[in-house]
């Protein structure tokens, strides 16, 4: 049977996606469906003093208008950062309080989407407006968890002051990153339909079980009463995980009007009704000796958070894992301002922090006269610098050595401003990428048929990640079936427990559960056929039979393809539920995941530190007249354990690097300070890369074996590609211009 792991299988959902038959949430239209639209607040902080819905109600087609005054059975859930499943702890439309601009204040239901939206436009609200502040004040920051156990939010090892004193050179630098928004192409949507006490919700989700668990708890319903369906998601990147107010509003509204209701959030509203990447300030003090070896490493991250939650994306946990150093101090701090609660957005702990770290390393290398790649080599380490456990595998320098070859790093003239190409200044820059291997408990059910097919069911998700395909590949490889004969069903909360599509954990965690289910099938079929009176493995001790790529093998060379063996059993079909429980998982973590939360083991366990690594190199061109910054070449070499599908993994890494270009050069949510409001709340003025921005992107995936992370040896790659890109570009800009740009995004206005 052909090997299907580490091959370039075309996505199994490709036919549906290219024909427009993949159903996204808003494509489903239950009979009798009505349309919803939100009205949102014009002020940031204050009180709603009056809300006039009369003109909205008079709009032809409008059926009902709901405000805080008249929405029965509207339930809120606890926010994620208070231990719940919700996107925030402050819930709009429960009262008159306004805590952020763009907060939902009314919900209009109508016969058409256009009349619902018009109704929302006609809502007239008056407010008692208070002062507001949209940007955090770093001076007012506090350590996360300062009132109790700081959970590693402050780390001290050795003596940083001493280490700086001993250093040949040091840098003391600050970097900033702005508010950024996920902006998936698919806008947020929710469709709710009640039939008696049974509820079905269609919405794009990264975590259907989180959604279901929160809803049943809020309404006091049995789990079996609520279905959450999300087979296809048009991009999520962290924005579609927690339960949002617009979801619970839609559920309550559907109940109130007695009909299914579909809400599609408008693109401008997407900037305020859910989460985003908080702005941040990164402070580094790093010192090294003449060879570049670090003597001191201090990183303080200050991230923005809302008035009612403390968002935790501990970037210092990642930066402190990177380079060997005897003296380390890190602090994870937040400062509040008047926005909705932010959350996690692709590489939430890594994008901002590595923009800082990898520029700081570059700055220090230049001060010392050490080649930036050699700077990383000198500080490479086999053990986690703080936790002092070995990395389960770490191929950082193999990545650098690979990419510097493909990129032609050594061909460069390292003098600032020394390279040109016609009207363009040319710069080369490099940076490290890493991403933690997060693993969560997962189950998966596999039903195999002796006629040569298999069904794989689990409540995992494909948000563009390629999960449908890799799970089919895993089953195909283990069971000895063609990939096309393995039918994967996901995105429904009724399916076996699987973790969220986030933290790049799906392939590792859920994939391992699929693997386990297949191995159980092998054992169960082996037990059955060994007890039969006939057959190649008849009478063989089942404990001695192994499943090897779809073939059952005995100790003395006997063998039989699994599908044949299965066909010979009385039922001719078998079903097993697989489990993935990493030894480092605690009962608490397992229970959390089964309850709809995110009980994560890793990246650091008592035994090992688990990270994927990469090295990125960017060539930037800066036009001498327009000062435009372009990236004609971006190379990345990555080592992330087993690569399940070379085609989709390539796309993930490449897509991450494209995000990285956007983070570096384009993405910023602009603000109006007096009114604490986001300004470029659309996808024309909020810039993300267009096709013409992306030219040569080369992705290399190195071989790496890791037997500790999970049975598949897989590490997460969905976010890895973004991590090193911004710093590689910033370092290249410095090489070209001599300007060190420490605030994202880097734009013409910074160079002119």
């Amino acid at each position: 049977m052909a090997q299907t792991i580490n091959t370039s299988v075309t996505r199994t959902d490709a036919p549906r996606k290219v024909t427009g038959t993949a159903t996204y949430a808003a494509d489903v239209m239950p009979a009798g469906m009505l349309h919803g639209a939100l009205a949102t607040s014009a002020i940031a902080v204050g009180t709603l003093t009056a809300i006039d819905t009369s003109r909205a109600k008079a709009e032809p087609g409008v059926i009902a208008v709901f405000t805080y005054e008249n929405l029965p059975d509207y339930k809120s859930v606890k926010g994620l950062y208070s231990g719940g499943p919700g996107s925030a702890s402050f819930w709009p439309m429960e009262g008159t309080g306004i805590q952020y601009a763009g907060q939902p204040i009314a919900y209009v239901v109508a016969e058409t989407a256009a009349s619902a939206r018009r109704g929302a436009q006609l809502i007239k609200a008056t407010y008692d407006e208070k002062e507001s502040q949209i940007h955090m004040d770093p001076e007012e920051s506090f350590v996360i968890g300062a009132s109790g156990d700081s959970k590693g939010m402050v780390t001290t090892k050795g003596d940083v002051a001493q280490g700086l004193a001993e250093a040949t050179q040091s840098v003391d630098v600050e970097y900033t990153t702005p508010f950024q928004h996920h902006n998936p192409m698919e806008m947020f949507a929710a469709t709710a339909e009640w039939r008696g006490d049974r509820l079905t919700v269609w919405m794009p989700s990264q975590s259907v079980r989180t959604l279901r668990a929160g809803i049943v708890a809020a309404y006091g319903l049995p789990e079996t009463s609520v279905r959450v369906i999300s087979p296809f998601v048009g991009g999520a990147f962290g924005s579609k995980a927690g339960i949002t107010p617009y979801t619970m509003l839609t559920i309550a509204v559907a109940k109130a009007v007695g009909a299914p209701v579909r809400l599609i959030v408008t693109r401008p509203q997407m900037y305020t009704v859910a989460t985003f990447r908080p702005e941040s300030l990164q402070k580094f003090r790093i010192g090294a000796d003449a060879t570049g070896k670090l003597t001191a490493f201090e990183h303080i991250e200050i991230s923005q958070t809302s008035q009612f939650d403390v968002v935790v994306n501990p970037g210092t946990h990642i930066t402190r894992a990177m380079y060997a150093c005897p003296n380390i101090h890190t602090e994870q701090r937040v400062a509040r301002s008047d926005t909705n609660t932010g959350g996690f957005m692709r590489a939430p702990s890594e994008m901002q922090t590595f923009f800082g770290l990898e520029q700081a390393m570059d700055e220090l290398a230049l001060k010392l006269g050490v080649d930036p790649v050699e700077m990383r080599r000198v500080n490479d380490t086999r053990r986690h610098p703080v936790a002092d456990v070995p990395f389960s595998s770490r191929s950082l320098m193999e990545c650098y050595d690979s990419v510097l070859e493909s990129f032609g790093w050594r061909d460069r003239n390292s003098d600032v401003g020394s390279m040109t190409d016609g009207d363009w200044l040319v710069g080369y820059g490099c940076a490290t990428a890493t991403y933690p291997t997060n693993i969560l408990a997962s189950n998966a059910r596999v039903r195999m048929q002796g006629t040569g097919g298999a069904y794989i069911e689990l409540a995992a998700h494909d948000v563009g990640t390629g999960s449908y395909t890799i799970f089919a590949q895993i089953a195909a490889a283990r069971l000895g079936l063609p990939v096309e004969a393995c039918d994967v069903m996901m995105g429904q909360a009724d399916f076996p427990v699987a973790p969220l599509s986030g933290g790049s954990c799906t392939a590792a965690s859920a994939g391992s559960a699929v693997h386990d289910a297949c191995m159980r099938i092998g054992r169960a079929v082996a037990a059955q056929i060994s007890a039969q009176s006939e057959g190649p493995l008849s009478g063989v001790d089942p404990a001695q039979i192994t499943l090897d790529n779809g073939v059952l093998r005995g100790p003395s060379g006997q063998s039989q393809p699994l599908v044949e063996a299965l066909a010979s059993t009385p039922a001719g079909e078998i079903e097993m539920v697989g489990e993935f429980r990493h030894p480092a998982m605690t009962d608490k973590m397992i229970r959390a995941t089964f309850n709809g939360g995110y009980g994560t083991a890793g990246p650091v366990t008592p035994e090992f530190a688990m990270f994927a690594f990469g090295a990125e190199m960017a060539e930037v061109h800066i036009h001498r007249w327009t000062h435009e910054i372009r990236v004609p070449r971006l190379h990345g070499a990555f080592a992330a354990g087993t690569i399940l599908n070379r085609k989709t993994a390539h796309s993930q890494l490449m897509g991450g690097m494209v995000w990285g270009v956007g983070s570096a050069l384009h993405e910023i949510t602009e603000t109006d300070k007096p009114r604490a409001r986001f300004l470029n709340t659309n996808i024309a003025e909020y810039l993300i890369p267009v096709n013409a921005d992306i030219r040569e992107v080369r992705v290399e995936m190195l071989e790496e074996q890791d037997d500790y992370v999970n049975p598949l040896g897989v590490k997460g790659i969905g976010e890895l590609g973004i991590v090193g890109t911004a710093a590689a570009i910033a370092n290249a800009v410095h090489h070209a211009t001599g300007k060190r740009l420490r605030n994202l995004p880097i734009r013409m206005s910074d160079l002119v």
């Binding site: 075309t10 996505r11 490709a14 036919p15 549906r16 996606k17 290219v18 024909t19 427009g20 038959t21 993949a22 159903t23 996204y24 808003a26 494509d27 239209m29 032809p60 058409t112 989407a113 256009a114 018009r118 902006n183 998936p184 192409m185 698919e186 806008m187 296809f232 998601v233 048009g234 991009g235 599609i264 408008t266 693109r267 948000v463 563009g464 990640t465 390629g466 085609k647 989709t648 390539h650 796309s651 993930q652 490449m654 897509g655 991450g656 690097m657 494209v658 995000w659 659309n682 996808i683 024309a684 993300i688 890369p689 267009v690 096709n691 013409a692 921005d693 992306i694 030219r695 992107v697």
Partner: protein
């Protein structure tokens, strides 16, 4: 245009409208715009729900719209053709791209009433009746020119127009033309490769 006060001339009378038609009908000649040639009928009032006819993927469809109904919502919510996606509803992302009388346009900025009689091709109209994929659909699948797939219908239609309009001579030209279709997953290089494959197979 401007917010100036109205010109004192009175509004249009029905009699005047009919008279105008008679005097100028021949002078207009045959328009290059199919919709213009077929549009006929009286004014539509704000509360009206007129019927329009569109040729969608080779099939004549008659549907009821409001004046403010956009083509994308007519296709999706009225005709149930949900292959065309709404990514922003403001003409800023290209996810809603359809071919309208052979031109790629953002259907979210197109008023359905204003294109009465037009030919529309959506992603549902690309595969042949037996289900054989259009070469561009096939190329997108093979080159992994998508990830989440949400922008894909719009990308494919723009890609077809890119070649048909002669804007695929090299990678730079393809990239520029395809920049009207945003892809947040970052599949751009693979999209370009898919377009090149189809272009080369046509030439070869």
């Amino acid at each position: 245009m401007t917010n100036k006060t109205a010109h004192p001339k009175a509004g249009l009378s029905r009699r005047g409208f009919l008279g105008t038609t008679g005097a100028f009908g021949t002078a207009l000649g045959i328009g290059t715009d199919k919709a213009a040639a077929q549009q006929s009928g009286p004014d539509v009032a704000a509360g009206d729900q007129p019927k329009i006819t569109l040729n969608v993927n080779g099939q004549r469809r008659t549907l009821t719209v409001e004046p403010r109904t956009t083509l994308v919502e007519a296709l999706r919510d009225t005709l149930g053709l949900t292959g065309t996606k709404i990514g922003c509803n403001q003409g800023q992302c290209g996810a809603c791209t359809v071919l309208l009388d052979d031109r790629p346009v953002n259907s979210c900025l197109t008023l359905a009433l204003s294109v009465d009689g037009a030919e529309v091709v959506t992603v549902e109209g690309l595969a042949d009746p037996a289900g054989k994929l259009h070469p561009m659909q096939q190329a997108f699948a093979e080159h992994d020119a998508f990830q989440c797939g949400y922008c894909t219908p719009g990308q494919i239609l723009s890609a077809i127009a890119c070649i048909d309009e002669g804007h695929a001579s090299d990678a730079a030209e393809i990239r520029e033309y395809m920049s009207g279709n945003l892809c947040r997953c970052g599949a751009y290089p693979n999209i370009v490769a898919a377009v090149e494959t189809v272009r080369d197979s046509k030439e070869g």
